[in-house]
Structures are given as structure tokens and as C-alpha cells.
């Protein structure tokens, strides 16, 4: 019950879903039966869905940075020309297999773990996971302790090192708080796909598939069933929402 309460208060972070609290507590069954592609703004997220992403490293083009550019433009993440302290929600990594010399390229971002270390370690509960698997930071209660950054095995999080200007309204940022990929939650809640996936498709690489891992008929589930998908650092058993092929 405590967890429910905490989740509800965090929901204030997303103004559009604020009224969902009332909706869920009054008649959850009624609302759930109405789930369609896009989630109505007044409806809470549920465990009926688990959003995930499948990335095919074989299709990801070396040198292409479109997903990174799209993400940072979408979320108002700007560079100050200081790569060590600039926030990076998504990055491209080029790898060479030491045994075979095979070179691959892939985007790395928050892996939206089911048992997310960042959520476990956060003292205030600012790091949290939505019922549909999206891991987020509530910027209003993040104290900037950076323990989540210590705990994340994927280096997925950035600390905002300077004053933020030109913010976009659906993606709040703040100096002194920690942030990472939101899976473009503002788009997902309106039935859309994350900006990175859209950019990858636009560039006709088609290396990224976004969808509901719990829906057996979704494109991501069908592809995963057919060709499988690996987790990065599967040994940690975090059950990541982001999976990879060709690694």
C-alpha cells in the first residue's frame, strides 16, 4: 500500500495523469477494460503493459547519430561543449569483438530494468519505476546525491551540472538533479513512440523496435520470439526492458 501511495504522489510529476489517482481508486476495472492503443490522459498506467525496446546492432549504422540527436532535441538536452559533464540520455557505442574482430555499433541508454538498482538505492524514492516498466526520476524530490549513478551498471544517468535553459514543458530538467532516458514517456502516454525510434526509422535503418513486451502480438514480442534478444549484463538478472540483437 505504501508503494501505491508513493507512486500516486509521484504521478503529480506528470500533470496530465494527475486525475488518474481518483480514476484508479474509484473503478479500476471499468477503466482497464477501455484500454486501447493510446492511454487516456485521465487513466493510470497499469502492469498490463511493459514497455520495452529491441535494438538490432546489425542494422544500427556506424557513424549514424540520428537517435542521439533526436532524443536530445526532443527533451531539450543541450551540450555545453564539456563532454565529461554534459548530460547524455543516449549515446552511440562502437565495439569490436576481441576474438573475431567483428565491429558493431549500438545505442546505449537507460535499460529500464525491472529490478532497477537506481530505484533500490534512491534514498528519497525520486528514482522510481512506473507500473508499465518505465524508470523515471521525479525531479521534485531528487536531492542530487548521485547514488543512483553509482549503482547503475549502464552509466545511463547524468547529473545536471549547470543551470538549464530552454526546457521543454513535457521534459522537466533541473540543475543539481539526476536524469536519464524517459523512454519519451510523454509520447508513449499518448500512443506514440520514442523520438530515437522514430529517427531510426526515418533514416531507414529500422534498428529499433518499441512496443509492449506483454502483448504477444506486438511487433517487439513477435521479433523477440522469432530471433531472441540479449540483455546487457544479463548476469545481474535485472530483467531489462531494452534488449539487443547482434551483440
Amino acid at each position: 500500500m505504501k508503494e501505491m501511495t508513493v507512486n500516486f504522489s509521484r504521478r503529480h510529476f506528470f500533470e496530465k495523469s494527475a486525475t488518474a489517482v481518483a480514476g484508479l481508486s474509484i473503478a479500476p476495472g471499468v477503466f482497464l477494460s477501455q484500454v486501447a492503443q493510446a492511454k487516456p490522459a485521465d487513466q493510470a498506467v497499469t502492469i498490463e503493459k511493459r514497455w520495452g525496446m529491441l535494438i538490432d546492432a546489425a542494422k544500427c549504422a556506424t557513424g549514424c547519430n540520428d537517435c542521439v540527436t533526436a532524443c536530445h532535441e526532443e527533451n531539450g538536452v543541450t551540450s555545453h561543449g564539456r563532454p565529461e559533464t554534459d548530460a547524455q540520455w543516449i549515446r552511440k557505442v562502437k565495439l569490436r569483438d576481441k576474438a573475431t574482430n567483428h565491429v558493431i555499433s549500438l545505442p546505449m541508454m537507460c535499460q529500464h530494468c525491472e529490478t532497477a538498482p537506481c530505484v533500490y538505492v534512491c534514498p528519497t524514492g525520486a528514482s522510481f519505476k512506473r507500473a508499465d516498466g518505465i524508470v523515471l526520476v521525479d525531479k521534485h524530490i531528487c536531492i542530487g546525491c548521485r547514488y543512483c549513478m553509482m549503482a547503475c551498471p549502464y552509466k545511463a544517468r547524468s547529473f545536471v551540472h549547470e543551470t538549464v535553459t530552454d526546457q521543454v514543458e513535457y521534459s522537466p530538467r533541473g540543475k543539481g538533479t539526476v536524469e536519464s532516458c524517459t523512454l519519451c514517456v510523454h509520447r508513449v502516454d499518448e500512443g506514440g513512440t520514442p523520438a530515437c525510434v522514430e529517427a531510426c526509422n526515418k533514416a531507414e535503418h529500422g534498428a529499433m523496435i518499441f512496443g509492449d513486451l506483454k502483448d504477444p502480438n506486438s511487433a517487439i514480442s513477435i521479433e523477440l520470439e522469432k530471433h531472441g534478444g540479449k540483455q546487457i549484463r544479463a548476469d545481474l538478472k535485472l530483467n531489462t526492458g531494452v534488449r539487443y540483437q547482434g551483440i
Binding site: V68, H80, R82, P83, E84, T85, D86, A87, Q88, R91, K92, V93, K94, L95, R96, D97, K98, A99, V103, M108, P117, V119, Y120, V121, C122, P123, T124, G125, A126, I141, C142, I143, G144, C145, R146, Y147, M149, M150, A151, C152, P153, Y154, K155, R157, S158, F159, V160, H161, E162, T163, G174, K175, G176, T177, V178, I232, R233, L236, I247
Partner: protein, 407 residues
């Protein structure tokens, strides 16, 4: 047996006021540094998105660990009922509170949003060992505060043993929690070991006692009170045992890592300085092992040096500097070592320094903030000695130990 009276100091000499002014200047510098960092954002510090805990954390964790260890002397008197240590106990309790306040100040002022401290005190995620630590810090203030009250209040003296026992148990839990902050991090090779919790406890014994001995000797000397050799000899031996115990834990920690094949790279990084870890291996061997452990052991146990205060002072200073080096190697070195995300793969390109050793160089504001924490602890001590009866009027050999026989 002589009655040992604890008495306030006058605290109006030029030296005393000068000490307060000096410590005050350090505190102002720390507050100014914190304002500078918070106003501009942390990009003006040495920290970055790879090394997220920098020098302020080295100081903060060191002070918090030392705080629990500074309670040693009081615990020995109350929990283990050693009468010899009783007159030394109140100073020990106040020092532990002062060090904890200093450490927490550094920790809080280095947060991204120190103004939100109230959130950390009201929103608890009970799965987080960090949240538990906040409860443990507050509990430590409570238990040690009550313990101190019982020691100083004649009417409550009868309960001192129980309060001392509670504080003793709590400080063990507290330092377990501090060690677990690192021990519970599964992602990083250098952490992720349950052994860090007991290792932090033994480190606390050593660092805390070294600081205690320095404070004790300084406050007796500067107030012209007698501190006999018996006290010096006992505390000296105790420190020697603790320093050796820390060294033992460090050896076992590295042996355990060396036994695990997938930790070999990390050990080579720290012990041999491979992959750009030269600064950490230098700090480990020269700072932590030679200057922080072996030289102090030699100074403490050197034949005929039992009563020598100069060598004991040097040993304490080296233990403290070695402790800071140990924290630096663990905290900064543990983050600098690259995260192993893609086993068997070489990272050819990454805009976020994947697979690369992270770089960190402390900046002046971080140094000043860390030193400010030390200054806060020391100014609390200086003021406490003036307003509370903490220091025995005399601890010459016959007063401290009635069975003492002069050589």
C-alpha cells in the same frame, strides 16, 4: 584512590581565541565553496558524470567513519567496564558527535540540491541503504547524546552503562551501514563485497582513535594539564592493534579480489596501476600502506618508544592521512575503473567514455569544503571543552592508575 574531577577550561587565552578564528576561517571558506558550487553548478568542481562522488565524499565518509570510532574510548569504559578509561569517556563521546556533524555537513553541502535536505528527512525509501543511513545518523545523535548526558549528570550516572551499551551497538550498526553503501553496489567491481562493512568498522576504530589521541594530547598540553605516561602507553598500544587490524582486512579484501578471475583487472588497476590507474596505485602503496600503515606501526611499536609523544603524534597524523588515502583509493579509484558492460569486446568509440578510465582532479572548492568539515568538528570540540566539564583536571600517572608504579 584519588577522585578525578572533570573541569571546563577557561578558554579566554589568545591561543584559544586564535584557534577559534582559524577554524572559523576554514568554515567560512567551506561555506563559500559550497555556495560557489551550488550557484554555478557542479561543473566547476572536479566531478563529472563518470566520477560522481569526488573529494568531498572522501572527507565526508572518512569523518563519518571516524566519528563512530571516536566513541571507542567511551565504549571501553562503559561496555567493558574498564575504570581506567572512565575519565576519558566524555571527551570521546563529544568527539564522535562533532566528527559526525562535520562529515554530514560536507555530505549535505555537496548534494546537487542541499536545500532539499528536508525531503531526505521526510521521504524514505526503505530499500535504500542510503535512506537507512540517514536514520542511523539521527539515531547515533540520539543514543550518543543520551549517553553523554548520563555520563555528565550525577543523578543519571547509574544508567550510564545501559546508555553506553546502546550507543556501542548503534555505532556498530551505523558503520555497517556506511560500509554497505559501497558493499551493496553490484555494478562496480571494486565495491560489491559484504566484507566492506566489517572493514569499515575496523577502519573506524583506527581513524577514530588516532583523532581522539591527537585531540586529547593537544587539549591537555594547551591547557597545561598533566597527562601521564600510563594513558599514553595504553592508547598507543590500542592504536597499534587497530592499525594492524585494518591492514589485515585490506590484505584479505585484495586477496579475495585476486582470487576472483573477473576482478583481476581491477586489482591490476589498483595494485599495479594498469589502464591508467597509476595515481591510485601510488596512493595505495605510498599513502595507504607505507605511510598510513607500516610507518605508524613502526613508530608505535618501536623499542623504547612507549612514552614518546612525538612518535605517537606522528603515528596518529599518518594514520589519519593514510585513512584519507584509503578512502580516496576506494571511492575515487572504484569509480575511475571502467564499468564492464561488454565482456570480450573492445570499445572503439563512445561519446560517454565507455570502457575508458575516468579522470578526476579535485578542485580548490572541493578541498576547502572537505577541510571545512574537519574545522566544524574541531570548533565543536574547542567550544565543548570550554562549556562542558569534559577534561580531567589531571591525569598524571598516580591519578590515572592508582596501581601504577614508577620505573
Amino acid at each position: 584512590m584519588k577522585t578525578i574531577r572533570l573541569k571546563e577550561i577557561e578558554g579566554n587565552s589568545l591561543g584559544y581565541l586564535g584557534l577559534l578564528a582559524l577554524l572559523g576561517a576554514f568554515i567560512l571558506a567551506a561555506l563559500g565553496s559550497s555556495y560557489y558550487m551550488e550557484h554555478n553548478g557542479h561543473w566547476v568542481t572536479g566531478m563529472n558524470n563518470q566520477i560522481v562522488w569526488g573529494l568531498p565524499h572522501v572527507f565526508a565518509v572518512f569523518l563519518i567513519v571516524a566519528a563512530s570510532g571516536a566513541l571507542n574510548v567511551a565504549s571501553i569504559s562503559s561496555v567493558f567496564d574498564k575504570k581506567f578509561y572512565k575519565p576519558l569517556a566524555p571527551l570521546s563521546a563529544v568527539l564522535s558527535l562533532a566528527l559526525l556533524i562535520g562529515g554530514l555537513m560536507v555530505l549535505v553541502l555537496d548534494l546537487g540540491r542541499p536545500d532539499r535536505l528536508i525531503i531526505a528527512m521526510t521521504y524514505y525509501n526503505f530499500k535504500s541503504i542510503f535512506a537507512w543511513n540517514m536514520i542511523l545518523y539521527n539515531g547515533f545523535f540520539l543514543f550518543t547524546g543520551v549517553y553523554l548526558w548520563f555520563m555528565l549528570d550525577r543523578t543519571m550516572k547509574g544508567y550510564t552503562k545501559y546508555a553506553g551499551f546502546a550507543a556501542f551497538i548503534w555505532r556498530l550498526i551505523l558503520t555497517t551501514g556506511t560500509g554497505a553503501i559501497f558493499g551493496f553496489i553490484v555494478a562496480r567491481t571494486g565495491y560489491n563485497m559484504a566484507m566492506l562493512a566489517p572493514m569499515f568498522i575496523i577502519m573506524s576504530f583506527s581513524f577514530g582513535l588516532a583523532i581522539y589521541i591527537l585531540v586529547l594530547m593537544a587539549s591537555f598540553k594547551w591547557t597545561d594539564r598533566a597527562l601521564g605516561d600510563v594513558v599514553i602507553i595504553r592508547l598507543r598500544k590500542l592504536l597499534g592493534v587497530f592499525v594492524a587490524a585494518v591492514l589485515y582486512f585490506v590484505v584479505v579484501y585484495h586477496l579475495t579480489n585476486l582470487y576472483m578471475t573477473n576482478h583481476h583487472d581491477y586489482e591490476a588497476f589498483i595494485l599495479l596501476g594498469t589502464q591508467g590507474g597509476e595515481s591510485y596505485s601510488r596512493m595505495f602503496w605510498i599513502g595507504q600502506i607505507i605511510l598510513g600503515s607500516l610507518v605508524p606501526l613502526a613508530l608505535i611499536f618501536a623499542p623504547g618508544a612507549g612514552k614518546c609523544r612525538m612518535t605517537l603524534t606522528a603515528a596518529c597524523v599518518l594514520v589519519i592521512l593514510g585513512g584519507l588515502a584509503q578512502m580516496y583509493v576506494l571511492i575515487i579509484g572504484g569509480q575511475a575503473f571502467p564499468l564492464e558492460m561488454f565482456p570480450g569486446m573492445e570499445v572503439l568509440e563512445s561519446t560517454f567514455f565507455d570502457g575508458a578510465t575516468a579522470q578526476y582532479a579535485p578542485t580548490l572548492p572541493e578541498v576547502l569544503l572537505g577541510l571545512g568539515g574537519v574545522a566544524v568538528a574541531m570548533i565543536i570540540m574547542a567550544l565543548s571543552i570550554k562549556v562542558l566539564g569534559l577534561l580531567p583536571e589531571s591525569l598524571d600517572d598516580t591519578t590515572a592508575d592508582p596501581h601504577h608504579k614508577a620505573d
